[in-house]
Chain length 729, copies 2
């Protein structure tokens, strides 16, 4: 009995709803080819009525529909159009159409149990006037037996894959075309249409944020930004179907699929696998035996196709993988999207405006007690849409974030939240704005922990978190700094007001009385440091008083994950010295490569925490400094003149920069319109040895194409290369 | 390999956070009894320092703490106090305490890795001044070896079960009491405290909404409201621990457990089992073989204890079960809560302001095409709290709803949403206000579906949905009508403005041009109908013109679930007649009991849809009428004079009103403070037979107590009885 109770039967919709919830685009029932009216009165005599001989939906890449709808790039033989914009179809009947006598319509259906009142069944009649919020249709031409129709889907139509029929009305019943999947029509969002809620009024921006299938993701450290190329691949074969599958798998009701706010919110939950068996499994552990290391991917296509084919979450991702896959999803459905990177992002901090760092009585950092972390960088997405669900003025770019966060809300979804609302501290408007506000505006609070367990805040750094927010420039491979979209300049009255507003909406902040500044401390590294090299960490101290000062300084060197989490401490050093009145002194701390090189994690960064005391306790000095180690690039060389469908080759080259063997090395090469993803494995690359890999392929698309390569092994990650190839006809 | 990929290792926090997310109240590490400072310099000499002989936390029901904190009703031997209010403890040392020399503190800890900056580790020192947002402590008395402390938890303290230690500081280290679970302290929300965010400034309301452990739930039909007694049982043995377990099982981080907004939101997800293996499995199918039928429960206690003991969702619940269990959770933690019932609740309608009803060309109802449903009633919860996360003015009662809804957001959680914001149509403020607004303000839109599949709206009824919202009166067993908290009066300017605001925030509405009213139709049933009886449905028609009118009327009688979903049609009848100029005519439709009695579902209601046409198409008539069938009550008779701990008995009596056997009948009897839940089974009760069940028990609590009984079998549900027993000392 107890066992019986543990296995209740699967839930049923009986008693709960007349029709089960319709949340699958894939589900369908075919309509009958003849649908009789009432009780048949003898065999119907249909010879006087229109018979449908042919339906041509002009779906080829070089025909009018895909060209005008900016969908000719999709590697998909079916018709793809955008809502709110007319497309043409040609119907051939057995005789000329007579408007006085003949009555026919074109029917569009999506999902199971389609209904007019839900927008899942739309019959369109010729010369049906275009009304806002409705579909329209007019006859462009009627010549001989052929009628050319111009059909305009409603600008707020459901987005997805529709089935299409042509139906002729007769007094005996409806005569209809047979179900033919070749006539399926994808309807997408339309940034080119003023009435669409994703309308974007700039051609260059539409080209970048909807049509560009290759991009750049920024990472590293604020003073040393690294770039990583990424193949979004939203037009590749199977990707559009995979995106629809994602919504089906989320059991998202079809009626919600007209609203980019709801779609982007569902996707922020579905891109990560937490809760809902979404697309990508997050892992930050450095152990990726069961899948692909987050650093090894070159693009989103393999991830989405793998997920759609298996239905099983794909291993593994970290923030830029979640953001990149999300970006593919958005652009594929026609929602303008971009990946942005926030440098020094406050994470998992419960939407409070503080990140707590715990020091011991001597001012030394205590990693075992410091729960909060500041990520060296964090990637999320922005998508462009109107926000009719919140007050006027908050439309435009919206933050969505698919990286699973550990927040007090217990939710693994985030956004959309208006960027403008975040800038003004108006975090009372949905969704999840407090968390995003905190990611870019938190203070770092240093606590001193006494031996008896008590703690008090001793210093607040208001500048460290959210140092800058970057994305790729429109139309070119450059950095676009969009920090000013998120924050008013530091120290301005507007900034103070925005933070005050956020605090009013219940974000918690720690206020302390600052100690007087007696000594200034500055930390730097002379030049960029190549991985495997020794270097000096330079500390500069300046006495701002006329008195002599005694300093005790602790330098902790840690290997950190990019999440700010410490893996190991590789050095710990203390200095003790005096500064004369107004004296400036420079101390160099020598960092040997052999101390760190065997302990590195995938993102080769060293994290220094420098703390200290002036004259025992007059002033506590604190600084954090991240040193990203430089990693060599892959070089990609092209041979031959690239021509459509003609064989050419590229060569990838790489030299091991470390003083040890690289083992189990994988290289991934990907170029949409050029080749499918290729992966090659090398069991060993000795020190200073080079590998050379030549790959032959035939370009399948014209114009500027990009080829991205990525090398990954346990000792060395984040080795990329990219090249541009212009394919001639 | 493929198989390997399908089973990735469990996620780890390595690389993601220094300390795993702390989301379990149950987790703990003991603190050492002696915590040495630094490197030991020989054996510590502790004889000069305070030694702790005894810690008395005055936790008995008749001692000061539980009395003053209104927690003496909890059947729990541990100390239970409310935040923001002082409680006392007595410490006995080996000698008198000397404030000049001795240093000690009382430590409160919750969960793993407790930290001061997270509010999970709180050391309290004697004479620690009370600061807002902090804990306070003062010495009330210091006499001989005994120190009496008054400790005040912060008014925004985390709510849950804390471990307590007393620690004495010495130069050698910390000397501490051993871990003793008997000194655990539960800290709850405090509606009696002005600074608490659940502060409620009315003693009668606090007595009802926090301290009353028995209540009434309303159901049935707006013109025929039924009542159902319910044992909330928030003070029963094990219930408080079960509520903490619910939050642990939701993996709710401890840091969020100070905020009633977050706790009530998490609970709205956890009370239903969808997504997260929450407490109750919803089922509306009428088949409850694998568990207890939703109608058979008498209270929340069994459900919560069963869930906490097994960790497995409990079968089965419907809206009032979800709402009742939620209410127990809220009151148990100290959040003022109540169950409310909305009559004619628009459901699963994607937050649109319309419920679509599809009629055929003749005006006859088409159930197979009508997806939307209007529930005869729907129960949800209100909880009382301030809302610092949204603009000022929206604190007070908040709607939360744990019944899983099928919305386009794909979420099985709802609220908290401000009742005041809903009334004013300010649905842009979190959480989920659009759905709740639609539940009480939707229009019923009648669509006429043509043979060719096209549809047009022909009539809108703005009055049907959200006819009234009821809850139990404060302090007595009467109905409190709170419709005016949710809606302005129908037809007022304020009502129009509120709906306009909601439409502005993107709720969709259907506007149609109304047809002229030619004929009025009114539907009624003469008296209340006892289950198993025949009756007349009376239709009254009034011609409002000077012309003769021809009417065709369809009457559909359906057995419906309370969700408005049709199980079967049990009668279908059409009438055709004429109305002379200005004539009023009454038509009676006879409804035979044998037609419906064997088809009834658990809530014995009949649903009539009356539609028709005047003069072919001048006007479409539509009406829906719900006839709830009256069900006999259980009678409960008391024998003996009820005295504390003295045996007494009650007798439950019931007579089968149907003309057939009742089979597999279960009766449940429950009375907190009187007896544990008892269940008795009867295999058969023949027609007109009576059962008599006498049960002996000893009351364990004083004062007014309630005993609730509930009978359930396949042919007859919702048979309740309740009696009040005054227990003398």
């Amino acid at each position: 009995m107890a066992d019986k109770e543990r296995r209740p039967p699967p839930p049923t919709h009986v008693g709960r709803s007349n029709i089960p919830s319709i949340s699958s685009n894939a589900e369908e029932e075919a309509l009958p080819e003849f649908e009789p009216f009432g009780i048949p009165r003898g065999p119907p005599n249909l010879k006087d009525f229109l018979d449908i001989w042919d339906v041509n939906i002009l779906k080829n890449r070089d025909e009018i529909n895909k060209k005008e709808h900016h969908t000719d790039l999709y590697d998909n033989v079916k018709l793809i159009v955008r809502r709110g914009q007319p497309f043409q179809i040609k119907l051939t009947f057995n005789r000329p159409y007579n408007p006085e006598k003949d009555q026919f319509c074109v029917e569009f259906l999506i999902g199971g149990s389609p209904q007019v009142s839900k927008g899942t069944y739309i019959p369109v009649f010729p010369n049906q006037e275009q009304v806002k919020g409705e579909w329209g249709c007019r006859i462009l031409q009627s010549e001989d037996n052929v009628v050319t129709l111009s059909i305009t889907p409603a600008a707020d139509s459901i987005v997805g894959k529709f089935r299409m029929y042509v139906a002729v009305m007769t007094p005996y019943g409806i005569r209809r075309t047979a179900r033919n999947p070749e006539r399926d029509v994808y309807i997408l969002f339309n940034p080119w249409c003023e009435d669409d809620s994703v309308s974007l009024d700039n051609e260059a921006e539409r080209n970048e944020y909807v049509l560009n299938d290759v991009g750049t993701i920024y990472y590293g450290e604020a003073s040393n930004v690294e770039t990583r190329p990424w193949i979004f691949g939203q037009f590749e074969y199977g990707v559009l179907d995979a995106c629809l599958y994602v919504m089906d798998n989320a059991q998202m009701p079809l009626t919600g699929r007209k609203d980019p706010v709801k779609i982007s919110r569902i996707a922020s939950a579905m891109v990560n696998s937490k809760d809902d068996d979404g697309i990508v499994v997050g892992s930050w552990s450095g152990e990726y035996l069961y899948g692909v290391a987050p650093t090894a991917w070159t693009g989103s296509v393999d991830i989405l196709l793998n997920y759609a084919n298996s239905g099983v979450p794909v291993c593994y991702g970290q923030c830029w993988v979640f953001a990149a896959v999300f970006n593919t999803f958005l652009r594929c459905l026609g929602i303008p999207g971009r990946v942005v990177t926030n440098f020094f992002s406050a994470h998992d901090n419960d939407g409070n405006l503080k990140i707590d760092v715990i020091l011991d009585e001597n001012g030394k950092f205590m990693p075992s007690l410091t729960k909060d972390s500041i990520w060296n960088y964090h990637c999320w997405n922005e998508c462009y849409m109107s926000r009719p669900d919140i007050p006027v003025g908050f439309g435009g770019w919206q933050v969505v974030d698919a990286t699973p966060q550990e927040t007090s809300d217990g939710m693994y979804r985030c956004g959309p939240a208006s960027v403008k609302a975040i800038k003004h501290g108006q975090i009372c408007f949905k969704y999840d704005a407090p968390f995003i506000f905190a990611e870019i505006n938190s203070d770092v609070v240093y606590w001193k922990r006494m031996r008896d367990g008590t703690q008090q805040p001793i210093k607040v750094n208001k500048q460290h978190v959210g140092q800058m927010v970057l994305t790729k420039e429109v139309g070119r491979d450059e950095i676009k700094n969009i920090t000013d979209l998120y924050k008013f300049p530091e120290g301005t009255e507007e900034e103070r007001l925005a933070v005050d507003a956020a605090v009013m909406y219940n974000l918690k902040r720690t206020q302390i009385t600052e100690q007087p500044t007696v000594v200034d401390m500055d930390v730097r590294v002379q030049e960029s440091v190549l991985i495997g090299n020794d270097f000096n960490l330079t500390l500069e101290f300046k006495n701002r008083t006329g008195q002599q000062q005694t300093l005790v300084i602790y330098v902790n060197g840690n290997i950190v994950f990019y999440t700010g989490v410490t893996k190991t401490e590789f050095m710990s050093k203390s200095l003790e010295f005096t500064l004369g009145p107004w004296e400036t002194k420079t101390e160099n701390v020598f960092v040997e490569s052999k101390k760190y090189v065997n302990k590195l994690v995938e993102q080769a960064t060293l994290h220094f925490i420098i703390t200290g005391r002036v004259n025992d306790d007059t002033q506590i000095l604190t600084a954090q400094h991240v040193v990203p180690l430089q990693i060599p690039r892959l070089t990609i060389k092209m041979e031959g003149v690239p021509k459509l469908n003609e064989e050419m080759s590229v060569t990838v080259e790489f030299t091991n920069p470390l003083k040890k063997n690289l083992e189990d090395v994988s290289i991934r090469l990907e170029g949409p319109g050029l080749m499918k993803t290729k992966v090659k494995m090398y069991s060993i690359i000795p020190p200073n040895s080079s590998l050379t890999w030549t790959e032959y392929f035939r370009p399948s698309k014209l114009g500027v194409r990009k080829l991205v390569a990525c090398l990954d092994c346990a000792a060395l990650h984040q080795v990329h290369g990219v090249t541009e190839i212009y394919v001639n006809p």
